[in-house]
């Protein structure tokens, strides 16, 4: 298992480095520009928030591309599907933990820069969603909760990507078209049209569901963590069921 994990982490190492290099360069350019502008005569403020969204997209794409090549490489080396899927899930979990940790470190760096540059603010997704919860809490505890929330949120997206990747690999051409084109069309075209037809009731309903299950409504991040874990387990189970019988495509 250790070798399988080592291989998978090795294949992601470069993309991870590129992703965070770009992110850090963006932050530095942004903060540098803000420092120049805000430390001069200009009065105002500048905020940097939701870097977690970039990580979510990165991990979702990682999930999408993590199956096919790895599956072939492992098949070539006599690794059973059971072992490769177990390692794939463990690798995804580790990657989500690493990225969540790096994101927190970036936020700590951001907090440090806030103290140096007047008017500059770095806000985490966690602070945006749980403004009531974060008040009067121990900073170390908050950092831990922030890490766990990010970790579970990332897992839910990465496992979804992984599921789509395996479904696409195993599926017929129609299934692949449905995943590649049907899903985005449904999310970004059909759903808005439906919402318009229903006088905004669809998005309003989805918003309420999201508020409840993310823990936003009750200002309880543990509800969010539990929801993301359940979602991850759901996609993970589906991915496992599909992956168990995956064969090299003819």
């Amino acid at each position: 298992m250790k070798k399988l994990l080592q291989y998978q982490l090795h294949t992601t190492k470069r993309s991870l480095l590129i992703f965070y290099s770009i992110l850090i360069v963006c932050i530095l350019i942004f903060s540098g520009s803000a420092a120049i502008i805000l430390n001069g005569e200009v009065k105002g403020s500048s905020s940097f928030s939701g870097i977690e969204f970039a990580t979510i997209i990165f991990l979702f794409v990682c999930g999408l591309v993590s199956f096919s090549e790895t599956f072939h490489m492992f098949l070539q080396n006599g690794i059973t599907r059971k072992r490769m899927l177990a390692s794939l899930f463990l690798y995804s979990t580790i990657l989500c933990a690493i990225t969540s940790l790096i994101d927190k470190l970036i936020l700590i760096l951001g907090s440090f820069m806030e103290t140096r540059i007047e008017g500059l603010s770095f806000t985490s997704l966690f602070a945006m969603v749980f403004p009531d919860f974060i008040q009067h809490q121990n900073p170390v505890f908050l950092l831990l909760i922030n890490f766990l929330l990010g970790f579970t949120l990332y897992m839910s997206f990465m496992f979804f990507g992984l599921f789509l990747s395996i479904a696409s690999y195993r599926g017929s051409r129609i299934v692949r078209i449905l995943i590649a084109a049907g899903l985005p069309v449904f999310l970004f075209v059909v759903t808005p049209i439906l919402d318009t037809i229903l006088d905004g009731k669809l998005y309003s309903f989805l918003n309420k569901v999201l508020q409840i299950f993310s823990g936003f409504k009750s200002q309880n991040p543990f509800i969010g963590m539990a929801s993301f874990l359940i979602i991850s387990a759901f996609w993970g189970t589906l991915a496992y069921v599909l992956g168990r019988k995956a064969c090299k495509q003819q």
């Binding site: 490489m73 098949l75 080396n77 690794i79 059973t80 019988k245 064969c247 090299k248």
Partner: protein, 285 residues
């Protein structure tokens, strides 16, 4: 002591297409097999089934007493060099050596490097940048450098020039004499492997036509050559599997043992490729 691979009543269907039809055979330890069959006969399907790349529809494959499907310990005893490349396109040859040594402790990286030198394969090249021939060389070097009891080659010399093919056959025999293992060569170049293989498996339309020692197999057939009318007369009431005409002369391939009354005819042992062609022609059997 190595175990045999026992294939029992193995069937593989792709929808309505039956690629393997109730196949049973045994692959003994320390033999060199030739797996022969026409395109689409089921050779690759059989190798993929043994190596856990695909699942059987019916039947089982045993290594010792264990079913090999989804069995790590059994799969660690096999290695398949496929016609398809399973290595990532961007992976360099040297990286493939490195990872193979991690997954297969029996892989000998120094030997692999020495083979790369012999074949003049640049180990810094990426898999995607290799020509068809060098991609085959890259994969067969890995297969030759792994020391497991069963090594399967699916079209190992695809795209290789005559010199490299010759080098591969020599290295294979050298390896076999130094570290005996079972080598299964699935190939269409029957003439080239005829002198290497000890046993052969002939598949026709998903069924095993023959699985036996090569010499024994060849001894079950013979050719008679002579004037057409004498050959025709001789072939009457005998199992003739094919003929070839050369002007007024005729060559007939027959199953069984030659009769004593072969006056005016030249009797000889057929070569493997010719016999294979006659046996696997669609208009026969």
């Amino acid at each position: 002591m190595n175990e045999a691979i026992i294939i029992k009543d193995l069937t593989k269907k792709y929808g309505s297409l039956c690629a393997l039809d109730h196949v049973s055979l045994t692959l003994e330890p320390n033999h060199i097999y030739g797996l022969l069959g026409r395109n689409g006969a089921g050779k690759t399907t059989m190798l993929n089934l043994i190596n856990n790349r695909i699942f059987p529809t019916e039947g089982e494959i045993l290594y010792g007493n264990e079913n090999v499907t989804e069995n790590s310990s059994a799969q660690n005893q096999f290695f398949l060099m496929s016609e398809d490349t399973y290595y990532p396109e961007n992976m360099r040859v040297q990286e493939a050596f490195l990872w193979t040594s991690k997954f297969h402790p029996s892989f000998d990286p120094e030997y692999a490097k020495s083979l790369a030198d012999k074949f003049q394969l640049n180990i810094k090249s990426r898999s995607k940048n290799l020509s068809t021939g060098y991609r085959s060389i890259f994969k067969l070097i890995i297969a030759l450098s792994i020391n497991v009891p069963f090594i399967f080659f699916d079209e190992p010399v695809l795209g290789l020039d005559a010199n490299h093919r010759d080098l591969f056959y020599r290295l294979l025999l050298e390896k076999y004499s130094e570290k005996p293992a079972t080598y299964v060569l699935s190939t269409h170049l029957i003439e080239e492997v005829a002198d290497i293989i000890e046993d052969l498996i002939i598949i026709k339309q998903g069924k095993i036509l023959a699985c036996e020692n090569k010499e024994e197999f060849l001894s079950k057939a013979y050719t008679v050559a002579g004037e057409s009318r004498i050959v025709d007369a001789y072939c009457q009431d005998r199992k003739c599997i094919g003929t070839e005409n050369f002007g007024g002369l005729k060559l007939a391939y027959l199953l069984g043992r030659p009769a004593p009354d072969t006056q005016g005819l030249t009797v000889s042992t057929p070569d493997l490729q010719k016999l294979f062609i006659k046996l696997t022609n669609d208009d026969l059997l």
